[in-house]
């Protein structure tokens, strides 16, 4: 693989809140190669959105303290002058936000919003920028691109608006596309269209993509690499197959077990109860000492769980391009004896019966 498009090292974000400092992101490191899709997964409050907003300098100044390094094509985004950062947003990194209903300006035409971005970063005149805008709308699959330029956001459906937003994000051919819950507000059939679109465009342009979502199903379809966040930390990462087929961190397993699964067959006509993770995620103002997951963890198989923070350590083979890593004290041994053995022992030593009740069965 060539040099990564984005390299994040030890990213930390602390927010000032009325309840005291909140450590929203605590030492996040990852890299995104050209043509690679990295999915960042987590529940609300896990710090996944804040971690990318911080990269592009989109957090309010004076409230957020961001430290670490984030190299976008070799340049550190976090120490950049505001003027340079403005130049980078666009040709360097494009962003697609969650809600297509609110991320377009309702009083400006689609054309005006597209042309604005194009002209800010190129010398094209208005007419040329408009032609470019129409081409882009065609590329994202909108019918009648030229006509759409003169329409207002309220005249378009949610799926069409999200296509417009993707067109805006792509208007300056970014090396990196960041999609923050880009399909969450859409219906599943439209979501499938948008995912197809992004995958197609990525294959064409060789962009790196950071896809933030809470939906593990979407992750399975789109990601090369997965990073699971909890309490502002990466608790597990690796290739999509490693993390989803062979999860190692108790939180990842809990999350997968809690997911109703269409592919799961009924047993005697009855679908078994879902495994649940008791409790709720910790508040970033009050993170537990030790392993960030231990208050909810059904395993707690190690004396260090409550006191010492587990490092992100390689599990399984270390001489692969993308090692599978997890931050937990609870893996039996570095070289695990296959997933079945782990599933079998998983849950023993559980402090209560309300823990993760059943290991997730693999199917088909």
């Amino acid at each position: 693989m060539s040099a990564p498009v984005l390299e994040v090292e030890d990213l930390r974000v602390r927010l000032r809140t009325p309840r005291g400092p909140a450590d929203v992101v605590n030492g996040l490191s990852y890299s995104v190669g050209a043509g690679e899709t990295v999915a960042v997964v987590g529940e609300s409050g896990s710090g996944k959105s804040v971690s990318v907003l911080a990269l592009l300098g989109l957090l309010p100044q004076g409230v957020a303290t961001v430290t670490g390094r984030a190299l976008l094509q070799g340049e550190d985004l976090l120490t950049m002058q505001p003027e340079r950062l403005r130049q980078v947003r666009g040709p360097g990194a494009g962003m697609v936000f969650q809600d297509p209903m609110t991320s377009l300006n309702p009083v400006l035409t689609i054309g005006r919003q597209l042309v604005e971005g194009i002209r800010a970063h190129t010398d094209l005149d208005k007419a040329a920028a408009r032609r470019r805008a129409a081409d882009l709308l065609g590329e994202v699959g909108l019918p009648d691109p030229a006509g759409t330029l003169d329409r207002y956001p309220h005249e378009l459906s949610g799926g069409m608006r999200q296509r417009v937003i993707i067109a805006i994000a792509l208007s300056n051919s970014p090396a990196l596309l960041i999609a923050d819950e880009a399909t969450t507000a859409l219906d599943v059939t439209v979501q499938a269209q948008i995912i197809d679109l992004v995958e197609g465009l990525q294959a064409e342009r060789g962009m790196g993509v950071v896809w933030i979502t809470h939906d593990l199903g979407v992750v399975a379809g789109i990601a090369d690499r997965v990073l699971v966040m909890y309490g502002g930390r990466c608790v597990e990462d690796g290739t999509v197959d490693d993390v989803l087929e062979n999860p190692s961190h108790p939180y990842t397993r809990g999350l997968l077990g809690a997911l109703p699964d269409l592919a799961q067959p009924a047993v005697d006509g009855v679908v078994p109860d879902l495994a649940t993770v008791p409790g709720v995620p910790p508040a970033p103002t009050d993170l537990p000492k030790g392993c960030v997951f231990w208050p909810r963890c059904p395993v707690r198989g190690d004396a260090r769980c409550e006191t010492e923070q587990p490092p992100l350590a390689i599990i399984g083979s270390s001489d692969v391009a993308l090692p599978h890593r997890a931050a937990t004290w609870c893996t039996e041994s570095p070289a695990r004896a296959g997933s079945t053995a782990v599933s079998g022992t998983f849950g023993t030593g559980s402090p209560g019966t309300s823990g993760i009740e059943s290991p997730r069965g693999r199917l088909r």
Partner: protein, 343 residues
């Protein structure tokens, strides 16, 4: 699940007038939110109702509880037609049929304690007084997995999942037979969703409730339901046992919907053949002629333009689909002869 029908809808229509511009009262058209739904919900079953936004699933749920007026058809609750109920009779319906709402942040009054919220149905229906009332509130809270001593707290002190439990306790206060859960888990995180889904399943079994579980999330619906009904543009287009609809759907729309649901299995996802629908759902104010799905259907053929398909038995026992691929059945009766096809 018994064979007894608790809620029965026949040709139910909910049409909304879409006004002209501004305050002019002249009607410009009709929005057909629910447009001719026949549906039987059996006592003790969980019926899942799925569909995309705007398909009319919430409006149907509201109509079954008389929360929106119907413009046509009839709805029977436990044998009584409720479309014309008034006064005391409708109050009794409110006790026997409850609702769990989508947003636990908006459906609880922030200025009332949990005890006040949960006990309101008890007061309205004169079910419990004084010490009995407090005991019943404690019982309800424990039933939904909350500690009885949270009764004095306010909604802002709870997380989303806990609030949803309070909402469920309130819905259960009047000992209803029938509960409509409208996107009751949509705003919750995955791990909390699982807790609430398990709770609903347990309550359904424990109390013998009849549940209508409305959701856009097919995986969740498949998980909790005995039967699934699929809605598209104001109509039920397929209905049947959850297992049959979930694994062997007979209507092209259901097939597309199922194939669009992302599964958390990378290998399966890569091999999967997707039916990607083109275009968007037509507006319920301009419903296509004939089959409503024909504008997006990959299999649309001649009769789909003019014959409005009716539900017909197909596939597994109890499964029905409204699709001409299984033989042209529907209105108008000017059906071309001998047109049959297999999917």
């Amino acid at each position: 699940m018994s064979g007894e029908v608790l809620v029965s809808a026949r040709g139910v229509e909910v049409h909304f007038p879409t006004g002209g511009r501004g305050f002019r009262t002249a009607q410009a058209g009709v929005l057909r939110a629910v447009d001719g739904v026949d549906l039987d919900i059996y006592r003790g079953e969980t019926l899942g109702l799925v569909g995309e936004s705007g398909c009319g699933k919430s409006t149907l749920g509201n109509a079954l509880l008389r929360l929106v007026p119907t413009t046509g058809g009839s709805i029977a609750f436990d044998g009584t037609d409720i479309t014309g109920l008034q006064g005391r009779r409708i109050k009794e319906l409110r006790r026997r049929a409850g609702m769990v709402f989508q947003d636990p942040f908006a459906s609880l009054d922030p200025r009332r304690t949990v005890a006040q919220t949960v006990s309101e149905p008890l007061e309205v229906h004169g079910l419990r007084k004084g010490r009995d009332k407090a005991a019943r509130v404690a019982e309800l809270l424990e039933l939904v997995g909350l500690d009885a001593n949270v009764a004095g707290r306010y909604p802002h002190e709870f997380s989303g999942g806990q609030r949803q439990r309070v909402g469920i306790a309130r819905a259960l206060a009047g000992e209803p037979d029938f509960l409509v859960c409208d996107e009751a888990i949509a705003s919750l995180d995955v791990s909390v969703q699982a807790q609430v889904l398990n709770l609903l399943r347990r309550l359904q079994r424990q109390l013998g409730l009849t549940l209508l579980f409305i959701s856009h999330d097919l995986s969740a619906v498949r998980h909790i339901s005995d039967r699934i009904a699929v809605m598209y543009l104001g109509r039920v287009v397929e209905i049947g046992p959850a297992e049959a609809v979930g694994t062997d759907p007979q209507m092209p729309y259901t097939q597309a919907l199922l194939s669009a649901v992302p599964l958390p299995h990378p290998k399966l996802e890569r091999e999967r053949k997707r039916v990607v629908l083109t275009g968007d759902v037509p507006s319920p104010a301009a419903v296509p002629s004939g089959c409503r799905f024909r504008t997006r259907c990959p299999y649309a053929f001649e009769p789909c333009d003019d014959v409005d398909p009716a539900l017909q038995p197909v596939g597994a026992p109890g499964q029905q689909a409204a699709c001409h691929l299984h033989g042209v059945v529907g209105t108008p009766a000017t059906t071309p002869d001998g047109v049959t096809a297999t999917p």
